[in-house]
Symmetry: D2
Subunit: 480 residues, 4 copies
């Protein structure tokens, strides 16, 4: 089934305790900090119904029309379809949004691959994940992810400090489990459900099993509070063309004794399942995540090249080389995405995973070099992105003529376009929103050292070792 | 002579045409975007009179007490005094401000070194620069710099497009010259005078000599308009502890037929002087400019280390290595500043220049690696700098308890300090202000490729060539 | 047709003027500097006939069995076949050799794509390239490439200095053209024919057309002299396990009035053809070239990991992260190769080119980061690669016992294996051969700035520009 | 006292068991692998007596003339004198040698600073180090350092494997201690005495105290065996102008029950002293070590610039920028050395240490970027360094004319000079010797991670923390 934007808006309106900028939000669909991103999410729902996009955005399975993003991947074509659907959305909205569903739903498929692990304690858990995977197809909810607890004192075990520092089960009832704690969740305030699971932490032994819990949380549940960071959307759109449209608001979700019905519990008191999901979490979802970097690269390339072309700087070798560096970054991401499909691997549950080694290496390279690419783009966009007056000043009767005069270059580049390009570049590279995006991209799926750890776990070291053993003439002993 | 803060405020109040955010500013000393930085500048003036700072901030010459920053450098001790005075200011205001006088006044000393060049056309010009250098000592104005014209079409010569795209002389009168054009000038809206000189451009031949003009512009002159970029100061100080105190507003200064009295004209129709000043402009002023990077490095180091220490992460080798990388960056700047004094060189006019090669290489290394150091600091400060609610939300009655609970780590680090540190780190690394500062540091003295060009021009290539000639056994022919 | 190793050896034996180390070489197949690489080339020929390799190394076309490397690529499978055949060779010889045919033959396909350009002056030229492409299939020669002339004075046009500084035509006869000049050609001394074409130079106008010549040169032609750099093969194999097997000797080939028969002339006095081939030269051949970097990466990874594992250093996070960096480099190359096939493009002549943008970006990234990866591998292999005695000292009766004692770690790693691994790592990272290989990889297809230029020429800039135009709200004017 | 070269040669001749290339060396002063470096060391001794160098190389103290390098540093001028003496040597020999005495003697001063630590067990130890420091002045021996034991199994404690894997005391006699084990020592085979001390290892507890031993070892002691790595000197000087003159041979010194007289024992069974010396070892000696990087940088700069100038490439912006990067590296080292003197610090024993933070940060930056600088130099020197025939081939009658023709560029750069420059560049960047030097520089004082650890231990973190505490408005709690 596919929902409409209106259905989505109705599903998040009204009942939640949402806080931002020191105030309580009465209608998240109307509040200036949330409305733009809610509108985009609604637009994605609506696109699924429109003739121009339906075939790209949806597919028919068993007589039902579902979102391509929710479809279980079983063939390389499925991955190309997902990639195309995401690109279609980003092109349609003319910008990059990440936590809009396609990037998070895959985390459930990872757990689906661990059905045998889940079945070890209780077959009901294996059934639950299967049920939810199909429920997503059937109900088309806005599904998000919840991983990171507040910092706490990581030098202490959870039970040796305020136990709520890691989300945990406080009670078990006939209806389900009652949980307590907090999680950072981008988009939670305007999404429908969150796949909630343990953070990376030192909870390996039995005493901590209350923390080894994973579940689907209905975000309309009583007892939730959504405490949001300040948004970047409430500014002048002419000066902040990206922040005012694409800000995705991060939230600290407080679980103040929230009941999770049994059918939504995916594992509980099950350290092994928790470990499994931590190790495989982004097996699928890293694909859509990395795909965003490709588009961010396009934005940097376009902004830099437009700026260089205005006065023919793109004829200089030094400028061409910097642009080519950006192009290399862009194509490197493209290469990893493409090759991850071409060399995709079957998963334990019979799905098709992007080639894990190519995907995780791509994620590391894309995220760890982003700041360097922004630096190159900043150099190419030049110092004027940081000294140009805002749009209102371009309109003031006493300054308008001067600014039009001094910001026009020639017939191709007049003041208005230059101001727009500079505002765009600033919002892409230098603004609160830009800094936020860069940090988000660095930490959203996990901190940088975990990106490298995922590479280490998924690379096939045996090939190189075998080649060197032969080439160096080592004895068989070295195989240990 | 040394002025007071009140005298400074009086000198900039009232008569100027200043525009920001689409509005005209009536009193620059009171406007929320300017007041914080005006207050700091005033504070610097007042510090000169206070017992606690007088000996560091001022010196006696010929029976008069002058600002250390304005003193002509003649000994290594002079440079240590200047360095100490600047540090004293930054420590007193607890932050970094750059365009507050000490960093710009040195550009006039560069021209002073070119007196013989100036005297070629008219000895009056050589006298004028000497006069102004002493006038600065005597009157203690807030002196700034003006270099960069709007972009224009750099593929065309000035006369082949709107001639105002580069500032030029439109008329000569008995009283002086009348100039027309525009210049970007940080701090111009609240400073007293600007040393205005040609930008880097293709104006080498006689036909363009109207563009080869340099002068001191009284910023209260009729015909000036100050069109400012939007400021970052008008936000909540608790959330933007740096932006709200240290934003230095950049301005596009329009010279709408401004009369420059002859005594303020430093050169005119004098391509050679223009070339001279372009090549030597930062001979002295780069010192104070680079010194700021040292303080910025300190801020990154302190923020990162405080954050790591909260939970003992500073015990991990990987974290220590990242901190050590920041320390290397910091000490590298320290090394160049220190060595530039130790190996200082006499200038043509008998002043003492910081060792030019060590100074310019230090400037390049400091500026070109800043983004990389911010990246390391960002990693060390962690993902929470981008998801933490603002201060107002920490105070809301329904969220206060939750945030205090979840943001406290232990007795050493309670929620309020953590929130402050995260806000500080965000404003240092990720905010509009942070992005602005990074770009400013990259372009303020000249674009990055010019930093390298200055290195190339000032390095002594002969030493390495002679060594290699000998070591490789090359013949004398290769000396050409 | 496929040749045997013996046929190849016969084809290069005897008649050539080859010089190395100040001596003339009587039999290139037997000389210690050439024999190892000649043996490998012969082995590749023989592999084609062996049951274990035939199906991988050869294919049947029109009833004839040909080398897979020589086959005209028309499908993605063709590229996978070529990639597999090359890997099979490298695995069989346990090392990396580059200029053995598969990497150079593709340059002729590039010219084949320019048939319409060739036909402009003389249809015979278009026919000649087609003939040679099929002749390669039929005769299975060892085909190499010749691009770079000696340095000359690049600040002068060829005719303003010794005209031989660029290879040029000195005479035209009924039999063909007579050429004069010199070219650097790796492997020329032991190959059969060279595709010779103009270097990158300033020969754009009519006056220089004698330099715009391309041809197939039979390397047994009278008038050729092969002046080789010193080889690295004549050392102790135990100490130089790579250099003594895989050194590919570079040669300065002197064309001392060499007759090129008309049927071997591919273009002549045809600046446009010369420009075409310069721009497209590595369209196909870059694939096999980049593929070598993958194997080099494997060698670094294997050596570093073996060394780290000896004492459990691979358990340390810092070591794992360095290894993961090497893995990222390796997979990045893999990604570009794989994606270049998946997104392959039809060529003007109906062949299938690897995706040009993905191929050239991959080449740049692989070559420009190689030194950095060697640095990481060097760190991981540790200081002992530079202090360990050679194999002969391990055998000396008075030192043998000490070295066995002090170089054994445990039952898995005994002295002999450690010595071998250290010798291997040293030869891979630090030896004359290692330095040579690194430089070769940097310059072999063209100097680094040309790698970036190829990226710039082949990237599709329109996509990013269109996206930014839309996202920034720019007017249609900016399309110029 | 200052020795002569002849006295030095006599002191090392004859009695030692030295092995290299599978053979025993009868006279180390005459053997082709050792003679060049022995000659340089002898030359340094002789320079001390020559009028042209005496004042730079020696100083008078208490009526005796001593080597400047051995003088205890007490003033900034002492450090400038040492720096100048070292530069004088490198200039005189036209190359870089490192382990020639001035770089190693300082390690004893570090221990001298720990006299109170030594006195804890036995005041004799404190006296011994003082005696040796003055003995060095008096006797002018060639003093070297010995730190690194063979690898062993670092995952096990010494006593759980072959105990000799770390050098240790096997017996105590009236005459002294008897030690057993092995150490890598550059130059040991031709030096006089070695300051031998524990490696970095897990020997913290009492059980391991036999390993906590430090002493001065007379390198003519019975029981020593010097097992050397293969040398790079025995090649054609024309092709390897650096390797054949400046190779410093590394040695595995076997201590096969060597008696160390009590007066040479500096500490024994004294874990605290071992820890002290590990932490402070390079306090002084890092200065001379880092100084070598400056000269290496000069060599790269000179080679690259000469090559670029041959055909005017140094006029290109891209080439100038690469040269400027090398200049920045060079001046960065200069800055750290200079500033370390200017901000020198008193040591516990009253000596003057180079500023520790500036010295260790300089060491890290110089060593960790060397490979990158070699990469830039390699690019600037171009592909011909890896394809040019050797000198003998330039002399062969059949090739001489061709090579002279094709290697001459113009009147300034004729073939012979070009060949020499290319040979020099290759030996500097690409040869066995070059690879060795790069690795030596990376590991000689300690592995890279220890360079960072030294930075971490010696940086003053309190300054940045105090500034951020103030600037971010943190409470006093955070001081913990």
């Amino acid at each position: 089934m596919i929902r409409t934007g209106a259905e989505y808006r109705d599903s998040i309106r009204g009942t939640r305790d949402i806080y931002i900028d020191g105030e309580k939000v009465s209608d998240v669909t109307a509040h200036p900090s949330f409305r733009p991103i809610v509108d985009i999410r609604a637009r994605i729902y609506d696109m699924q119904h429109e003739a121009a996009f339906r075939d790209v955005m949806t597919c028919e399975e068993n007589g039902e029309r579902n979102a391509v993003g929710n479809k279980l991947p079983r063939t390389q074509q499925d991955w190309w379809d997902k990639r195309r659907a995401t690109d279609t959305v980003l092109n349609e909205v003319s910008g990059v949004v990440t936590r809009v569903g396609d990037e998070t739903v895959g985390e459930m498929w990872s757990l689906y691959d661990g059905q045998d692990v889940l079945a070890e304690i209780d077959p009901a858990f294996a059934r639950n994940i299967e049920t939810h995977i199909h429920k997503v197809l059937r109900e088309d909810p806005f599904h998000v992810s919840a991983n990171t607890d507040p910092k706490g004192d990581r030098s202490k075990a959870p039970q040796d400090q305020d136990p709520d520092m890691l989300l945990h089960v406080v009670k078990e009832t006939d209806a389900g489990i009652v949980v307590r704690g907090a999680k950072y969740e981008t988009a939670a305030a305007y999404a429908n459900q969150a796949f909630t699971k343990p953070t990376i932490a030192n909870w390996g032994n039995a005493a901590l099993s209350d923390y080894a819990v994973g579940f689907i949380c209905d975000l309309n549940s009583p007892g939730l509070k959504f405490i949001c960071r300040s948004g970047f959307a409430g500014k002048a759109p002419a000066d902040y063309p990206l922040a005012t449209r694409f800000d995705e608001v991060d939230t600290l979700v407080i679980f103040d004794n929230v009941l999770i019905p049994w059918e939504n519990v995916l594992f509980y008191r099950h350290t092994k399942a928790a470990t499994f999901i931590r190790a495989t979490l982004h097996r699928y979802s890293a694909f859509a995540f990395v795909q965003r970097n490709l588009k961010v690269a396009d934005m940097m390339i376009g902004a830099a090249l437009f700026n260089a072309r205005q006065t023919g700087l793109d004829k200089q070798q030094a400028v061409q080389e910097k642009l080519a560096e950006l192009a290399c970054y862009r194509e490197m991401i493209n290469a990893h995405l493409t090759a991850a499909i071409t060399l995709a691997e079957p998963s334990p549950s019979g799905l098709l995973m992007p080639n894990q080694s190519l995907l995780y290496t791509g994620r590391y390279l894309a995220c760890s070099q982003l700041h360097q690419m922004m630096h190159i783009a900043r150099e190419l966009c030049g110092g004027q992105i940081c000294v140009t007056p805002n749009a209102a000043t371009f309109e003031h009767p006493e300054t308008k003529a001067f600014l039009e005069k001094y910001y026009s270059i020639n017939d191709t580049w007049v003041a208005d376009d230059r101001r727009r390009l500079l505002a765009f570049a600033r919002d892409l590279l230098n603004s609160d929103y830009a800094g936020h995006r860069l940090t988000f991209q660095l930490f959203a799926q996990s901190p940088p050292f975990n990106h490298l750890a995922a590479v280490y776990r998924n690379f096939d070291w045996d090939g190189p070792l075998a080649f060197v053993k032969e080439s160096a003439g080592l004895s068989d002993r070295v195989n240990g």
